[in-house]
């Protein structure tokens, strides 16, 4: 049952990405990008990642698509005479090289959802991995049930602080680009 749903979602996401590449109209590409992001956020839910799915749905299909639309409204939407742009075969050959290299590494990876995957091993050679530590100790140490929030704030809080500073400096960078000092 889930296999059919996952197959449909993966096909939808790949078709959406390819159409975003091939469509000549910018507005069409933006709309297809929003649906790509939405399909991917449903895939996150199937992969048991609800925090990531919430963020991806709000950011990708929400704020990012709106930022693209505002940019197109501030600049220009070029007229298009054809629906699909032509494919440049030299560029396809160049990225095809990357595709072949990535595909060659796939057989070395564990199967999707395998219990032998190194990321979900609780002990390795008798020593407890970080995954085992977080699953066993994070509720006792912090009193917080959501392990993702506990790791984000308590165990790896400095990275989160850095992320807040990055987001703040993006705003400052935008002010510099527009040569303004206030937000309005």
């Amino acid at each position: 049952m889930t296999i059919a749903l996952e197959a449909v979602l993966v096909a939808f996401v790949v078709v959406a990405a390819v159409s975003a590449a091939l469509l000549r109209d910018v507005l069409g590409a933006i709309v297809v990008f929003a649906s790509f992001s939405l399909g991917l956020s449903v895939i996150w839910v199937i992969l048991s990642a609800p925090d990531v799915a919430l963020t991806e749905a709000a950011v990708g299909a929400g704020v990012l698509s709106v930022l693209f639309l505002v940019t197109v409204s501030k600049t220009a939407r070029p007229d298009t005479d054809t629906l699909v742009s032509s494919v440049d075969y030299k560029a396809v050959a160049a990225v095809g090289l990357l595709f072949v290299v990535l595909l060659a590494t796939v057989p070395a990876l564990p199967e999707v959802g395998s219990t032998e995957a190194p990321a979900v091993q609780e002990t390795v050679d008798g020593e407890r991995t970080p995954y085992g530590y977080y699953i066993a100790e994070s509720y006792e140490e912090t009193g917080v049930e959501n392990a993702v929030s506990a790791i984000l704030v308590f165990y790896r809080g400095f990275d989160t602080f850095g992320e807040g500073v990055v987001v703040f400096s993006a705003l400052v960078g935008m002010l510099v680009v527009f040569r303004k000092e206030v937000l309005g």
Binding site: V52, F68, V106, A117, A119, T160, G173
Partner: protein
């Protein structure tokens, strides 16, 4: 031969990741419109997250909310990385779009070839 196909089919998310990353990179290289280049950059970034979340997944795994009698959990550590990466992606894209708006104001065009001509003609 069928064994190789079976190997790839069992790792379907990783194959989808390779395809999506390629498509995003192609958009970044080949689009003439600057906004489409930024869209390609975003597709590239978001597809990279697919690799991480798939690596964290485990069969029958529950979301990492620890409660009594909970079964095996998926690994929460890649989720934390991806949360930060998504918000950093928003900052990056908004700065890129601000630059696109400024380029349009300066040169009057969003086409990469025309911008190159105008710059070399100055």
């Amino acid at each position: 031969m069928t064994e190789l196909v079976g190997v790839f089919l069992a790792r379907y998310y990783y194959v989808a990741f390779a395809v999506l990353v390629t498509v995003g990179l192609y958009m970044l290289i080949d689009s003439r419109n600057l906004v489409k280049k930024v869209i390609g950059l975003n597709i590239f970034q978001i597809s990279a997250f697919l690799f991480f979340i798939t690596a964290a997944y485990r069969e029958g795994g529950e979301p990492a909310v620890i409660h009594e009698g909970g079964g095996p959990y998926v690994s929460p550590l890649p989720h934390v990385l991806i949360l930060t990466a998504i918000v950093v992606g928003v900052s990056l894209t908004s700065l890129a779009l601000a630059l696109v708006v400024r380029i349009y104001e300066e040169y009057g065009t969003l086409d990469e070839e025309n911008v190159r001509e105008v710059i070399s003609g100055d």
